[in-house]
Symmetry: C2
Subunit: 362 residues, 2 copies
Amino acid sequence: MKHYKIAVLAGDGIGPEITHEALKVLELIEERNAVTFELMPAAFGACAYFEFGDAFPQGTIDICDKADAILKGPIGLSHEESKKIPVDKQPERGALLPMRRRYNTYANFRPVSLPKALAHFSPLKPEIIGEGIDLIMVRELVGGLYFGSKERGINDQGLRYVKETLEYDELQIRRIMHQAFKLAMKRRKLLHNIHKSNVLMSSVLWNEVMEEVAKEYPEVEVVNYLVDAAATALCLKPTQFDVMVMENMFGDILSDQGGGILGSLGLMPSACLGDDKAYYEPSHGSAPDIAGKGIANPYSMIGSVAMMLESSFGMDGEAKNVWAAMQGVFADGYSTADLSKSGSGVVMISTQQFGDKVVEKL
Amino acid sequence: MKHYKIAVLAGDGIGPEITHEALKVLELIEERNAVTFELMPAAFGACAYFEFGDAFPQGTIDICDKADAILKGPIGLSHEESKKIPVDKQPERGALLPMRRRYNTYANFRPVSLPKALAHFSPLKPEIIGEGIDLIMVRELVGGLYFGSKERGINDQGLRYVKETLEYDELQIRRIMHQAFKLAMKRRKLLHNIHKSNVLMSSVLWNEVMEEVAKEYPEVEVVNYLVDAAATALCLKPTQFDVMVMENMFGDILSDQGGGILGSLGLMPSACLGDDKAYYEPSHGSAPDIAGKGIANPYSMIGSVAMMLESSFGMDGEAKNVWAAMQGVFADGYSTADLSKSGSGVVMISTQQFGDKVVEKL
Ligand SMILES: CC(C)[C@H](C(=O)O)[C@@H](O)C(=O)O
Ligand SMILES: CC(C)[C@H](C(=O)O)[C@@H](O)C(=O)O
């Protein structure tokens, strides 16, 4: 009997609702496998700040330290609400970035996947979706502008200014490249390298290291794309991509564009892997506007569980089953509100109904 | 009789072909108005580097200095070709960025516009295009990562590293905000402010200044959007946007996404305005792969002429005529290769035919 400790950080907004559904799936997996999951819930995000004065309180750190894997819901407040919290204590700067840094989860995997049968969810025309979109963005997650030094002040002319740095060293670039190439080897052996080397010096170094690492994977075809051109191409011909690798900020923007071409950020789970610890989270925000209404899409959270089963617990088969179960619910013509409008006869179901149907399928 | 000096920088790749068509339009405008245009061609970009060892040679600088407006084609080489030029001499770093800096063209206007009748060009479904897309991105063009200091070296651990800075002061932010608010006042009085204040300190200052400037335009409704959320929204509901304002790098990425949702970067002209000088350019690259084939879309270059007529010469009426003529050519069922595949009975015409048809319509 295997035993795994999972820190469960439900987060803010729609976090608790979608986490609730994801845990149902975990429970079922437990019942039918020789495995037990010890769930360790902990406060994280704006809710933790309001309760403990800290978005990533010590108690939560301790729990995460002990965990074999961390399942994390979305965090954050509305634009207006955020302003009530000091900038450094806000959930992103106060909890999410410190977590990424603490566990050095440098490799963020964001699948952007839409089978042909679900093309109606997408804002893109069916002929653009073709046989389906199935790509993974590999985003560097602990470097770049996110973690560079930041300086704010008044300059000589008496003007407020800000200076923040985008930093990378070759080691940071090399390790994410290896992750991307390894993934490409398991898939179509096609890697799109996203950069902005015509302007950024960091991209010049990025590309140098990419070429060095590429020599170790001679079977992988590398295609270089400027980040702006990639943003165009993701709309015009997303099916050309299989694995895409990029630095932190580019990954933030392009992966959300990925959610856009699928039809909803609710379809975007993700895995954040470090060498010793991994956490799993939806790529989207906490959607405070729809929180508590039972209409959020739990796909991203259940998908994050599937990624955890595969990457942290080696349960590839069950991971596949979870993906298949979710596709099955869609194939039966059901979906949550974010996607039900896009279609021809799609029946709208609640967050909870979606979770129940996934469990049924499983 | 008005007289204007126009520096004509045809640029690289498809630049000369599309510039050729744009000049036909200028000629016609000249014939039927009390205006003469003195065209001053000059070398700029990779072609200038190969001829003069400098992508922005002194001769070109002199011509641009004298000009009342600058019409600039796309520049740049393919990824592989670029590498044959020292990084600092490459056309982007050696010509385009120095030009932006020299003339302090801080306000970049990029219309993303697709009338309902041309919805078939877009990869988006007709119901997403609705009554048409008609937004303008206002991009800060001379600050941020593009112009911050850059440092490359070997660190204490013997690793290659790069450090580059994203810098803004309140003045830089304020002036672009005024441009955006003024434009919003002339349009739907709706301004989307794009930022990433949950991570970037520059966005925190950006938003502070935005709120200060907003007080001067109480009629304008401001909607704040995180850049990642904006990338999603541009796919899912582009019609919600009218004027969007953003810093340099965000503008680079989102505006190319804009080209993606229209169906081609060939539909993206732009105006780059400073307080004393302005230049006009397509937002896209030089497309070396299709250069010389006569298949490039000159819309972006002719549209840039329209923007020049309006912003530099106050010829708003003729500018409108040019836009209308181009829409007319499309409405007659013609388009260049980039767009002809997308449709139902669109007849493919060459770069030159497109130019001729625009002139006919005019
Ligand atoms: C919440 C925010 C800090 C975060 C990021 O920018 O990385 C999110 O947008 C994401 O993509 O995971
Ligand atoms: C060519 C390049 C330097 C330029 C930029 O990044 O600004 C281009 O992509 C643009 O958008 O005008």
